[in-house]
């Protein structure tokens, strides 16, 4: 199993023979560009609309052209958002960061250790563990989340941050990625050399393996973070009181307010939605290199 993404730079020949192609006919090239421009416009216009909508006050939101600015009310929208119900939105933001940050960090460490164990040791039961990892990809969320809710409520974990954090610690997909990464980045020879020098297994893992797997670890963390940040069914099921909610859950609740109690929070929802994209965008841009390999690796699942 190889990573296409990492393999690409290794074939400079191809790059030289490119711009091959289709491009021989000018018309063909224009057609391709037109198609891509249209597709990009389709991809971007909803984000643009959201950005514009977040800068409008309520009257303009309903009355002005949605695709262009009309007055600059972003700051007052933000102030409203942060002060609504004693700043509950900030609370949700902090919760989302807590669950996604701490949960993914713990989950990534466990996944790296497991991936390393599976990739570099031949112990009895290894096949069974790996079969569990792959088999769990097919288990629907409802089959896990409902009984988890019942079990958590028996031991009093429902409606506490633990109900979100504990499930994040075990992520089979992260384990799968960690195993693939170990196989491609940690050579047996280095482990053998360290053993001959008398290093213990735990020390080898912490000082050598973890360091070699920074890229892989960052990818695993990034994908787990995004996953938890985007989670909806699990928090909806295990979190009841709004002080423990995530951003997603809070925004979902606000969109329902209008029909439920006649309170129109559209303006707050849109500003909040824009803000909840910001951490994703920052993380993805900052870790673009890792993220790309992660996206293509996901393909090997």
């Amino acid at each position: 199993m190889t990573l296409t993404e990492e393999r690409r730079p290794a074939s400079p020949v191809r790059r030289l023979t490119r711009p091959d192609p289709a491009s021989r006919s000018r018309g063909g090239q224009r057609f391709l560009l037109l198609g891509l421009v249209l597709a990009s416009a389709y991809s971007l216009f909803p984000v643009w609309w959201l950005l514009v909508a977040a800068t409008k006050n309520r009257t303009d939101l309903y009355q002005s052209n949605g695709l262009w600015f009309s007055g600059m009310h972003l700051w007052s929208n933000l102030r409203q958002l942060f002060t609504y119900e004693h700043g509950i939105f900030l609370r949700w933001t902090a919760n989302s960061f807590l669950y996604a940050g701490v949960g993914s960090l713990g989950g990534t460490l466990i996944a790296l250790a497991t991936g390393y164990g599976l990739a570099r040791f031949d112990f009895p039961g290894r096949g069974a563990v790996f079969a569990c990892v792959v088999g769990s990809f097919l288990v629907p969320i409802a089959l896990l989340t409902l009984p988890l809710y019942l079990l958590f409520s028996k031991i009093g974990l429902v409606d506490t941050p633990w109900a979100m954090l504990i499930p994040c610690l075990i992520n089979p997909f992260s384990v799968y990625l960690a195993k693939v990464y170990t196989e491609s980045t940690v050579p047996y020879e280095i482990l053998e050399a360290a053993r001959i020098d008398g290093a213990g297994e735990l020390r080898i893992f912490i000082t050598i393996v973890l360091r070699m797997m920074t890229t892989g670890g960052a990818t695993v963390f990034l994908l787990a973070f995004v996953n938890t940040w985007n989670a909806f069914f699990l928090p909806l099921t295990v979190l009841r009181g709004e002080e423990n909610w995530t951003l997603n859950l809070g925004l979902y609740n606000w969109t329902g307010k209008r029909l439920e109690s006649g309170v129109d929070l559209t303006s707050l929802v849109l500003t909040g939605a824009l803000l909840s994209i910001v951490p994703m965008a920052v993380m993805m841009v900052a870790m673009r290199r890792y993220w790309r390999t992660g996206v293509t690796l996901g393909a090997l699942k």
């Binding site: 391709l32 891509l36 164990g117 409902l146």
Partner: protein
Amino acid sequence: MVRSQRWKGAAFTVPFQLGFVFLYLIPIGYAVYESLYREHQSGLGLGGATEQFSGLANYRQGLTDSAFLHSVLRVLLFACVQIPVMLLISLLLALFLDALSSRVAGRFRILLLVPYMIPGVVAAIVWINLYSPDVGPLTPLGKVFGLTWNFFAPSMVWPSIGNLLTWHGIGYNMVIIYSALQAVPRELFEAARLDGASEPRIALSIKVPYVRGALVLTGMLSIIQMLQIFNEPALFRNVTPQTVGDSFTPIMVIYNQAFNAGNYHYAAALSVLLALILGLASFLFYRLTAREAD
């Protein structure tokens, strides 16, 4: 490898194994156990409910429950339309990118991936507002062309959700197909060109067969996701409960049974059934596409 070393290696996987037992195996086992029981009101319903073993009764009920079966059919039918459309667009865009210089392709690839960065719930919120007759720009746009569309009408709700899912998914699927395309040996194209094949012909007869694996994979992932669709319809239900009922998708039926009707036993049986349907659908899809590849 030395024996003790093997066991130390196994020790690295122990935290995961323990967690897996507690967060996967025990919950699944518990769901299966729960699904075999039913609550019975004792006497006049005053003495509280007792649990009684009922065998497969919950499953029999599930297999004849028209709300559940309809939700499964609804989602499967939707999958048969939305997934091919989405994958076809992704494939076309990947082929377009592949035919351009890598510098230009890189720029477009980032633009096309922007929707993938948006959390699913937020994507649904944005599109619901774009569709909204009050704040959305699509309704006035329709008027320019003399169209009066209502995106939340019963006949439009699936196309509306389908467009949202397609918007959200094409970038990701395109990247997977594009990386598969990058692995096609370029010599093949040169040879075909010397034989006088046109570019669309090369795309159709060489590139597409080469990325069949990527298409099968993205198709499979999409089917697994689609059978479990919950977030998007749940958000639509928030604004248009009259068209998106509480039994719109299988997971919504299960959630509703568990948390609104308080019927955990039946909800557990339905989630086991859904897992079986999911396994069966993936297996059939895999067999079908694998046979074609031979």
